[in-house]
Structure formats: structure tokens, C-alpha cells
């Protein structure tokens, strides 16, 4: 098993955070994993993406050209990555931010709306991770939640729990 | 007063031109090191320029730095060896031209090192080209009609650095007369003591003769400092905080 994932959108949407949570969860399950970020002069607002590979064996190149899955948070990224998706690949779309024609085969989630229900729109990334894991079952819910906990523990228990709640809400959307 | 060669100086003839100021400065610097009994703690940084061969004359640990970089080399030596006494010995090309940035930032960090800046208003080793400190109208091999406004104005390092808060001590001296040489030695001693007392960045600018590149006799060059150069570069203490 080797799955290649691209998470993409704008800086500030938690793109890198979402990728980091995936690799942390992967390590908890003793998988081999790599994370490669786009990096640039822009810290916020510019296009950003990260490439995550989760595998049972040694990973060669950490760079992903033909992803199995794309988690997409912007129109620009949607146009760019829909073409590179593997034939049997899946795209997950934050439909609060990207409106698409009905006939395209993608999984959509109004992730910002969902996040706002919990009091903040900056947890759309957690909602999308929930949807992704529920659909693909690449990693276990428990290890994802452990990874979320690890990632937010410096911000306190309240924030950890809130993120886990949004993640679970995303899970329930499949 | 003792008028005998200091222990920190090797007993050897030296390569400088007749009447060159370096020999005098080498000697008074060595006398200070003997008087402060710090010879075994010295790590000196020589520049690129006539004084690159400092190690031939100084009997203490010495290294060479690339052109302009002695302040960086000295910063690193002092930071990793705070118990050593670290000084750089630099000319005007080295310190004020190619090494201007290192000079500014080393001063701005208030590094606890000492810089001896030998200003002879020209590039001596390469044959007498214009330096940042070259006098207006001075003839050099690259200002054959004399230095003009287009070539810039003499750079006053002490005045420039005196605006930096973290600088502890700045003095300009000369070695063109017995009295001035004694003042120069006192300034060198004070700058070294500052380092020993952890006071931070000290720089002594020493106006020195370069008869060869000034197209003068050694005796005329003493007078040139008196009449012209020390007018453009006034002697005195610029900072002592």
C-alpha cells in the first residue's frame, strides 16, 4: 500500500497543519510517511500545498505528481490538481470556497460552514480531514484524534477538544 | 621609562619600507602586551595588506583573515574563547573599504574585541592606490590627477562609529612624533584594558606614515601627518563611555 495525497489551498487555511496531522497519525500506526511542503516568500494568503505519502514500505521521492487523493481548499488549486489526479483517484473539495458544476465526481463538504457551527471558521481543515478519513479509511480515527491532540496540545485542552469535535463532524458527513 | 625591545616582538629585521609607520605600531602594541602580561592569552588577527606578515614580528598566536573580514574572525574567536584577548590589526582598505560592513556590524554588536586601525590614507601593499581615507587632491596610482569629489571624500571611521550606541571606546592617534607615539601607546593600552575589563568594542585609529605611496621622504611624511592628514582626521577621543 502506498497512497499519495496533496492538500492544497491558500496559506492560513491550515494546509500544512492538516498534512502534519496525517503524518503523525501514520507514524502512530507504524507506517512509513513523508511530508513535503510548498514553501515560499508568502506566509499567508499565497497558494500553498503539501504532499503527503503514506506507505508500508520505503518511500523514494517525497514529491507527488499524480496524487491518489487531493484535499482542495481553493478554486485555483482545484483547476490545477483535478487534471493530475490518478484515474481512480478522489478529490475532496471545500464547497464553501469552490463552487463546481454538478457533473464532476468529487466529494464536497461545506467545511467552513461546518467549522463555524463550532464557533470558528479556521477549523475547516479538521472537517475536511474527517471527511477524508471517513471515506478513504487510510488511517484509524483513534490515531487521527491522537495526532490532532498532539498538534494542538500547546494551545490547551479546549482547543484540542474543539478540533476533535469538528473532525468528528466531518467524519459524520460521508 | 624602558627603551628596549619588548618580549612580544621577535628579534628580526622587517620587510616594511623605510619610514613606514607599521614598525612603530608593532612595537608599541607589543610593549603594551608585555606591560599587561597578556602575551600568552593573545590571539591576533592580521589583515590582508602590508601587515599580513604581522606573525613574522609578533611572538604570540596570530592568524590571517581574508581581506576585510578580521572583525568577523575576531568575533568568532572571542565568542568561543572568552578568556583570550583578541585583537585585529587592519589597514584602511581592509577595514574601511572591503570590510566596512563587518566593521559596522561588529561595532553594532558591541563585541568585546579590540581593533587597531592603521590609517595611512592609501593602499600600501598593492602599490599606493586610492583608499576610502585618501585625502582630497592626493595623488595615488588610481587618482593620478589627485582625488576628486567623484572619487569620494575621506571616510572618517571614528566619527562614523561614534554614532553607534554599543561602541565603548574610540580614539584617533598618530605615530609621527615621539609625543604622539606615547599618546598612541596609551590609547592602545586603554583599548586592551577595556577588553580585559569586559567593556566591549574598542577601536584605536592610528594615523601612520607611508612615505613610499606618498612620494615623500620619511621625514617629510612625519610633517604631512602634522600639517595635512591630522587636520582632515583630527586626533582625540571620540567616545569613551
Amino acid at each position: 500500500m502506498k497512497k499519495e495525497i496533496i492538500i492544497t489551498g491558500y496559506g492560513g487555511q491550515g494546509i500544512m497543519q492538516a498534512g502534519n496531522i496525517l503524518i503523525k497519525a501514520a507514524i502512530l500506526e507504524d507506517k512509513v510517511t513523508t511530508f513535503f511542503p510548498s514553501y515560499g516568500a508568502e506566509m499567508r494568503g499565497g497558494a500553498a500545498n503539501c504532499k503527503v505519502i503514506i506507505s508500508d514500505e520505503f518511500i523514494g521521492s517525497p514529491i507527488v505528481y499524480k496524487p491518489d487523493y487531493v484535499l482542495c481548499f481553493s478554486r485555483l488549486a482545484f483547476e490545477k490538481f483535478r487534471k493530475s489526479l490518478k484515474p481512480d483517484g478522489l478529490m475532496f473539495l471545500n464547497s464553501d470556497l469552490v463552487k463546481i458544476e454538478n457533473n464532476i465526481d468529487v466529494l464536497v463538504l461545506e467545511a467552513n460552514t461546518l467549522s463555524e457551527k463550532f464557533g470558528s471558521k479556521i477549523m475547516a481543515n479538521m472537517a475536511m480531514l474527517g471527511l477524508f478519513i471517513a471515506r478513504v479509511k487510510l488511517l484509524k480515527q483513534a490515531s487521527m484524534e491522537e495526532a490532532i491532540k498532539e498538534s494542538f496540545k500547546h494551545k490547551g485542552e479546549k482547543i484540542v477538544n474543539l478540533n476533535i469535535e469538528v473532525f468528528r463532524a466531518g467524519l459524520d458527513c460521508v | 621609562m624602558k627603551f628596549e625591545m619588548p618580549e612580544s616582538l621577535k628579534k628580526t629585521p622587517q620587510h616594511y619600507c623605510p619610514g613606514c609607520g607599521h614598525g612603530i605600531i608593532h612595537r608599541i602594541l607589543s610593549e603594551v602586551i608585555d606591560e599587561l602580561n597578556i602575551r600568552e592569552k593573545i590571539i591576533a588577527v592580521a589583515p590582508v595588506g602590508c601587515a599580513v606578515f604581522g606573525y613574522l614580528y609578533w611572538d604570540f598566536d596570530t592568524c590571517e583573515a581574508p581581506h576585510g573580514r578580521p572583525p568577523s574572525v575576531a568575533t568568532a574567536i572571542k565568542r568561543t574563547n572568552p578568556n583570550k584577548v583578541v585583537f585585529t590589526y587592519q589597514g584602511d582598505g581592509d577595514l574601511a573599504a572591503i570590510g566596512g560592513n563587518e566593521m559596522l556590524h561588529t561595532a553594532n554588536r558591541g563585541e568585546n574585541i579590540t581593533i587597531f586601525f592603521v590609517n595611512n590614507v592609501c593602499y600600501g601593499m598593492t602599490g599606493g592606490q586610492m583608499a576610502p581615507t585618501t585625502m582630497p587632491n592626493q595623488v595615488t596610482t588610481t587618482t593620478t590627477q589627485g582625488r576628486t569629489e567623484e572619487d569620494g571624500y575621506p571616510m572618517k571611521v571614528c566619527e562614523l562609529l561614534s554614532n553607534i550606541d554599543y561602541v565603548h571606546y574610540l580614539e584617533r592617534v598618530a605615530v609621527n612624533s615621539p609625543a604622539n607615539t606615547l599618546k598612541a601607546k596609551a590609547a592602545i593600552k586603554k583599548a586592551m584594558e577595556n577588553q580585559l575589563n569586559g567593556k566591549g568594542f574598542s577601536l584605536v585609529e592610528i594615523l601612520a606614515m607611508c612615505p613610499t605611496a606618498w612620494y615623500q621622504t620619511p621625514v617629510e611624511s612625519l610633517q604631512m601627518i602634522e600639517d595635512t592628514i591630522s587636520k582632515a582626521f583630527p586626533l582625540g577621543v571620540f567616545k569613551d563611555s
Binding site: - | C17, G19, R27, P178, V219
Partner: protein, 67 residues
């Protein structure tokens, strides 16, 4: 009594010591040293003021007790 000692081999005959000597007892010798320089020599009664030592750029002059 202290007086000037000149290292003839180190001397480059720049003339600075002659210039600064207050009692004019230093002069250029007629002989050559091995570098072909006419070294400075003492020609009168030195008062051991040390000015020549202070200004000699060539480590060639010391003022020492005469033995």
C-alpha cells in the same frame, strides 16, 4: 649610564631618528650594512631621552645600559 645602541643590520636609514634627536648625535655612517644601507651611527654624547627608540620603525634602536 644608558645610551643608544643601533642594530646596523636592521637599520634602513629612513632618517627619522636623526630628525627627532634633540641633541643631534645621530648621523648616517659612511659604511654599508649587508643590505647596502648606510646605517645610522652615534657621533656624540647621547642623553638617553629615548625619542629615537620611540620613532624607529625598524626595531633597530634601543637605549640600554652601557656595559
Amino acid at each position: 649610564m644608558k645610551k643608544v645602541e643601533i642594530n646596523r643590520e636592521y637599520c634602513k636609514c629612513c632618517g627619522i631618528c636623526i630628525e627627532v634627536c634633540p641633541v643631534n648625535v645621530l648621523s648616517v655612517s659612511k659604511e654599508f650594512n649587508t643590505s647596502g644601507v648606510h646605517p645610522v651611527e652615534l657621533i656624540g654624547d647621547c642623553i638617553a631621552c629615548g625619542k629615537c627608540y620611540l620613532m624607529c620603525p625598524d626595531f633597530a634602536i634601543e637605549v640600554k645600559e652601557n656595559d
